[in-house]
Every structure is written in structure tokens, then in C-alpha cells.
């Protein structure tokens, strides 16, 4: 089997100066790591003892992702321009794809790490009924009890990860396009405020508070669900449906509907409609598709700009 050529850029982006930082200033970075660890533990305890529901825990993690993911991508290409390291890199034998992958994969790995760190927070919440004491009493942990919690949990984690992937991919593209670190970071944060807060608010104002749940409640098959996603682009309902915070909130409806025999919504068919929409997974797929689009755009520019 032919060996894949090594990618020094990926190695540098992943470990490069991180390891050296530890070596050079172990106390400083040790203190930062301990501080970060303690904060994480604090959040974990807060979620565990505040009876936070799964959507709330998920929204907390999404908020952290919204803050952290741009930091993993805003500088990917812009620092190469700002620090004048781009031309020597472009002249090496690394292909456009290897350069892109070296940077993208490093950012994706960090998003994956952040998602992994979010898992305990998502586990320990009131909805999933995890009894941490049980193992010590010789009982098995029944994590996904009741079983439908698995759908909600996997959809939630997938939402979180894919939103992070979208943010880093968009950040990478903007970083190449704008060539300025500060501008890219500002665009990413301002863009999120616009897309996640201003746009939904405007939508709700113009729709007089109608979220589209009545239409969703009429969906009775996956085929209709698929059609709804296309339709939502024209009715602007996608503004809400693609908002990860809204999506996380509506996952609660699915959970609650399955947990109790009686649907707790005025319209009991609404959660079923959400299932036919592949709620959570459909958004994740759209985020991934958009992420691929931005990565593709970056690749195209990279290839053309540097004749790679």
C-alpha cells in the first residue's frame, strides 16, 4: 500500500508550539490548565446540581462552542499573510489540499475535543436520569433510560459538533478571504449575533410570534418532512429551524412527548412532525454541507491564487 505523504503543517498546527509552550513556561501554562480545569468542573457541578434539562445543558455547550470555535479558525490563513509566512509555504511541495487539510483538520480536531469535553455536561442533567451512585451499589448504569433519550442525546451532540465544524470552516474561508485576523474574528462573532439573535427576532416580529409549529404538526411522513425543509427556505422558517439554540430547545419536545404517554404540547402531533423532519440530524447535515461548501471555496481560492 502506498504510504500517504506526511503533512508537517497538520503536525505544526496541532502540536507545533503548544508542546514548546509547555516546555518553556510550564508554570504559566500549568496554571492556565488548572484554572480551565477548575472552571470546567464548576460548570459540570452547576449542571449536575441545578436540575438543568438536557436542552439547557446543550444550549450551554452551544454557547461555549459559539465562543470557542471562532478562536480555532479566525487566524488559520490570516496569520500566514500578516506574518509573511505564506509565500515560503506556498512554494513548498505541499499541495493545496494538504495545506487546507493541515489547517482544517487541526481546527476540526479541536472542535471534536470541545465536543468530547461537553459529553459529561450533556450526560449529567435531569432528563437523562444518570445515577452516578448506582455503580457503587453494584448496579449497572442505565444511561439512556428511557430509550428515546438516545435520539435526543445523539441529535444534540451531533448539533453541537456540526455547528462547531461549520463555524471553523466559515472561519477558515473568511480568514483566507479577508486576510486580516481581527477582521475575521469580528466578522465571525458579529455574524453569529446577526444569524442567531437578530434574524430570529426579526422573523418572530414579522410572523407575529408564529414559529411554524402548526405546519410541522401536519407532517406525517419523512417525504413530507424532506419537502418541508425545502419549503422552509422560501417561508424563512429556516431562520429558526437552522438556529442551533432553537433546534436544541425543540429537542425537548421530542423527549417530553416520548417520556410521558400523554403529549405535553397543545398539539400532540408536533413532536412526531419533528421526528419526520429528522430534527437535529437534518440541521447537522445542513451544517456539514455548508462546512464542506466553505472548505471547498477555500480550496478553490487556494488552488487558483497560488497555482497549486
Amino acid at each position: 500500500m502506498k504510504r500517504r505523504p506526511e503533512n508537517p503543517l497538520l503536525r505544526y498546527q496541532l502540536f507545533g508550539f503548544t508542546l514548546n509552550r509547555w516546555k518553556r513556561q510550564p508554570w504559566l501554562y500549568g496554571a492556565v490548565a488548572i484554572g480551565g480545569g477548575l472552571t470546567y468542573l464548576l460548570v459540570l457541578l452547576l449542571v449536575a446540581f441545578s436540575n438543568a434539562s438536557f436542552p439547557v445543558a446543550l444550549q450551554l455547550c452551544l454557547f461555549a462552542m459559539c465562543l470557542a470555535a471562532p478562536l480555532m479558525a479566525y487566524h488559520l490563513f490570516s496569520t500566514e499573510y500578516e506574518k509573511q509566512t505564506w509565500e515560503p509555504l506556498a512554494l513548498t511541495r505541499l499541495t493545496a489540499w494538504e495545506i487546507l487539510w493541515g489547517k482544517w483538520a487541526a481546527a476540526l480536531a479541536r472542535v471534536a475535543l470541545l465536543t468530547l469535553l461537553a459529553l459529561p455536561i450533556l450526560f449529567i442533567n435531569e432528563d437523562l436520569h444518570i445515577d452516578l451512585v448506582s455503580p457503587f451499589r453494584g448496579r449497572f448504569i442505565t444511561i439512556f433510560e428511557p430509550t428515546h433519550a438516545l435520539y435526543v442525546f445523539v441529535a444534540g451532540v451531533s448539533l453541537l459538533f456540526c455547528w462547531g465544524v461549520l463555524l471553523v470552516s466559515l472561519g477558515m474561508w473568511l480568514s483566507f478571504l479577508l486576510k486580516r485576523t481581527l477582521t475575521t474574528a469580528s466578522a465571525l462573532y458579529a455574524g453569529q449575533v446577526f444569524a442567531l439573535a437578530l434574524m430570529p427576532t426579526l422573523y418572530l416580529i414579522f410572523s407575529e410570534g408564529e414559529t411554524g409549529s402548526q405546519l410541522i404538526a401536519t407532517i406525517r411522513s419523512y417525504r413530507e418532512g424532506f419537502a418541508w425543509w425545502g419549503y422552509s427556505l422560501f417561508t424563512a422558517q429556516a431562520i429558526l429551524a437552522l438556529n442551533p439554540f432553537w433546534a436544541a430547545n425543540e429537542l425537548n419536545a421530542i423527549y417530553q412527548a416520548w417520556e410521558t404517554t400523554s403529549w405535553n404540547r397543545t398539539d400532540p402531533l408536533y413532536p412526531e412532525g419533528l421526528i419526520y423532519l429528522n430534527w437535529g440530524f437534518a440541521q447537522s447535515a445542513i451544517y456539514l454541507a455548508l462546512a464542506l461548501l466553505f472548505a471547498g471555496l477555500t480550496y478553490r481560492r487556494l488552488k487558483h491564487a497560488w497555482r497549486k
Binding site: 509566512t85 515560503p88 512554494l91
Partner: protein
């Protein structure tokens, strides 16, 4: 061999580089001289495959730089005028990064890096962090990076800019050594004494046009058609000036600090005849010599001080 054939770069109405032709052979150290904004960096970037020419091309060992940039890149080393280095890594790690990016087999890397460090006199700094190096050392590290893949053409854009006198001398020695190693070295500068010491060929560019190029001696010889003779008379110079102005080959006489500078159109025979005639006529001559041109004189004679 580097064969530059009608290289041209236009930015809209502006012609940055105007149909440049020159050829360089292994061992040639070519000084690319011109005022700021003359088109030196644009030409170098086109040769480095970083900028696509509007017209014309160049071949390096027969490979077209426009049609096959990816084949030319491994054959050239490029040091930009403003450059940055990846921070947070050591000198050795930095060179390993580029060795890997140029696909140098792992087994050969250590030896190559050792040689390059020795050549650039950076062995003692091999474990130092890149950002802790002085400007001169960073310059040498950038050059070392450009040498790891053993290029046949080196494009050095203002390599001595911003360096202290010692670092300038060291980098000049290094460039001289690279020429002696059989590499084609193209060095740009607007500081003439910098290039005079180690270039065997020069090209003078102004307003995007290569006004003259060739071996330094040949260019000086061409320009010496109107030579300047320095004559220091004993006693009052006026009678000698009047006598000289009657000579057929004399086009003018200037007096500075008691020395007469005679613009003389004749050859060596006529020059010897003039000296004999002056002595025969009873003029007392303390010194009689031909003023030789240096690179600065050549530059001043050829250029008009315009930028494109």
C-alpha cells in the same frame, strides 16, 4: 540555466515589468539593481512562480515557470524582502518543517539540516527558539530554509535590508559562497556597494524596464566610451584647461579640488598621445590617471531616477 524571455507584468494601465530578457548560468551571482518601485520584487515574484506574468515566460533548466510552476518550485529557493517565521518552534524544528514540506526523506533530513546550519553559521543556535533570534540570524535562518531542498536557483529579495554592518558582511560572504557552489543566485538591492563586492553580473531596472544587463566589467567597458581622465597640474590650471579644450577628443573639462576631470572620447592610444603632448608642451603634471567607473557611476549614468 535560467532563461528569462520577455517577462511582462501589467496591473491595468500600469506596466510594472516591461518585457525583460536575460540569461543566467550556474555559478552566476546576478545583482538586480533598481530604485524602489522599479519592478525588482515583481520580477522576482514572477520568477518564483508566485505571480503570473501578463506575457512572456522564463525557463529554469528548460522547465517553463508559467506552464509548470509545480515542477519549478522544488528547484528554487526564495527569500522575500519581508518575511516571517513560524514562532514557538526551535531552529531545528523550523528547518525540519520545511524539509518535510519539500518531501525530503526522513532518513536524510538530519544530515541536510546539519549541513545547512553549518553553512549559514547557525549551528550554535539550533535549539534556540526562532523568535529569540536577532534580525540577522533570522535572515540567515530564512536563507537556510531556502536551501534545505538544495535548489539550483536562489531568489533573494533585498537580503541585507535592515541588517547591521556585521550581519551584512556575513550575508554577503554567504551569497558569494553559494555562487561558488554552482547555484544561480539572483540578488536584488537598491544599495549598490552591497552588490558590487560579490556579483559577477548585474541588471539595472528602472520603471519596469531592464536598461542594461551583463557582466559587470563589460557594462563598465561599454559605458567607458566617454572616459574621464583626472589630471593634477602643478601650478595654475587655467593654461592647461585652455590647452586641453583645443584637443579633438576632449569634450569638456571640470575642475574639482585642483584636479582637472577631462571628458575624453579617445582610446588608450590617444590618451597616451595626450600625455606625451602635454609634457612636450612643458606642462608640469603631478598625476594623470583614468577615473574608473564603479557600480554607482554605472547606475547614475544609466538611470533617470524614475519609477513605474
Amino acid at each position: 540555466m535560467l532563461d528569462v524571455k520577455g517577462l511582462r507584468k501589467e496591473y491595468g494601465e500600469l506596466v510594472a515589468v516591461r518585457d525583460i530578457y536575460f540569461q543566467l548560468h550556474p555559478g552566476d551571482v546576478f545583482g538586480f539593481i533598481g530604485p524602489n518601485g522599479a519592478g525588482k520584487t515583481t520580477t522576482i515574484k514572477m520568477l518564483a512562480t508566485l505571480l503570473e506574468p501578463t506575457a512572456g515566460t522564463a525557463t529554469l533548466n528548460g522547465i517553463d515557470i508559467v506552464r509548470h510552476p509545480e515542477e519549478v518550485r522544488p528547484l528554487l529557493g526564495y527569500m522575500p524582502d519581508f518575511f516571517g517565521l513560524y514562532e514557538g518552534i526551535t531552529v531545528t524544528e523550523y528547518l525540519e518543517f520545511f524539509a518535510a514540506a519539500y518531501r525530503i526523506p526522513r532518513s536524510q533530513r538530519a544530515a541536510i539540516i546539519e549541513n545547512v546550519l553549518e553553512l549559514t553559521d547557525l549551528t550554535v543556535k539550533k535549539d534556540a527558539y526562532v523568535e529569540t533570534l536577532s534580525r540577522g540570524m533570522q535572515q540567515r535562518l530564512c536563507l537556510a530554509k531556502s536551501l534545505v531542498h538544495d535548489p539550483i536557483l536562489l531568489l533573494l529579495d533585498e537580503p541585507a535590508s535592515g541588517l547591521d554592518p556585521r550581519a551584512r558582511i556575513e550575508i554577503k560572504e554567504l551569497i558569494r559562497e553559494l555562487g561558488a557552489m554552482g547555484k544561480i543566485v539572483l540578488v536584488s538591492s537598491h544599495i549598490l556597494p552591497e552588490l558590487a563586492d560579490f556579483c559577477n553580473k548585474i541588471g539595472i531596472i528602472e520603471k519596469g524596464e531592464l536598461l542594461v544587463w551583463g557582466a559587470v566589467d563589460q557594462i563598465i567597458q561599454q559605458l567607458q566610451a566617454n572616459r574621464v581622465l583626472a589630471i593634477k597640474p602643478l601650478g595654475a590650471p587655467e593654461p592647461l584647461i585652455q590647452r586641453l579644450e583645443r584637443e579633438a577628443h576632449v569634450h569638456g573639462v571640470e575642475t574639482r579640488d585642483g584636479t582637472l576631470y577631462v571628458h575624453f572620447a579617445g582610446g588608450l592610444e590617444e590618451q597616451a598621445d595626450l600625455l606625451s603632448a602635454l609634457i612636450h608642451d612643458g606642462y608640469r603634471i603631478a598625476a594623470f590617471r583614468e577615473e574608473s567607473l564603479d557600480l554607482e557611476d554605472v547606475f547614475m549614468q544609466i538611470t533617470k531616477g524614475e519609477v513605474s
